[in-house]
Subunit: 150 residues, 2 copies
């Protein structure tokens, strides 16, 4: 392996996102962060990830601006990892993954965790809509490519 390909320079926004959070563990860490976990040990226990890998991933997520290290409230010098605003904006990605998994990766009767509206307790929906409010799928959209710069 020469080096894993970097997609930093790709013109496609999805590719750049995957460059930041597209590895095996990062989105699972982010999921746990959305779930309220903040401490190294919590992530490690929850994910069963090797500690050295967790160290590196947390460092990368902090460097990317998705997590930040803030002093833990418990009157000590310990720190905790929290989602930044940028990190919280991965919410739609998590919801989209969840929706896909719910639909295709569980047996009909199999139970699974559920994302619900805090106030009503009802499940939430994810929609992709045109400006006029129509719901659109992949066949109703086109990706406009930006021509190369000269």
């Amino acid at each position: 392996m020469v080096a894993r390909k970097s997609l930093k320079g790709d013109y496609c926004p999805s590719a750049r996102s995957l460059d930041v959070i597209g590895d095996w563990w990062s989105l699972l860490i982010v999921r746990d962060a959305f779930d309220g976990l903040t401490r190294f040990g919590e992530f490690q226990k929850s994910l069963g990830i090797a500690k050295n890998i967790l160290t590196e991933r947390l460092r990368t997520l902090v460097a990317s601006g998705i997590l930040e290290l803030v002093p833990a409230g418990d009157s000590g010098t310990r720190m905790e990892y929290r989602l930044t605003t940028m990190g919280k904006d991965l919410f739609p990605v998590m919801v989209a993954l969840r929706q896909f998994g719910e639909r295709y990766l569980f047996a009909p009767a199999e139970e699974h965790s559920l994302l619900v509206d805090r106030t009503t307790g009802q499940p939430v929906r994810l929609d992709i809509r045109a400006q006029d409010g129509r719901s659109v799928g992949p066949d109703e959209t086109v990706i406009l490519k930006v021509p190369e710069e000269t």
Copy 2:
């Protein structure tokens, strides 16, 4: 390494999704498939991925039901890889990744490809809404955990 951890049995739908498409290349292949690519060589050229890895990933995506092999129209015996219905249902994941990338991973003046409504040419939006239509963010939702079975 004993083996990369499998998340098949996780009760969290996001985790199961990541188990299927959470590796480094799969979503990039899916992105290209949404972009209209169908042939082995097209993916290989577009992604710069090693051919043996591409072989394995395509096979896995077919086995997962995200891609299917169909006879290519060009009067030969060659096959092409096409998104299944299940594969097309990854559309929201791709749009969410795109939206995140657009917001955070491009310089203000930097141009990027754009997903637009085919009929109007206007950009599309992605929203997460409660049943009553309110747009909800991470702080307005809770994940209900299914208790362990006894």
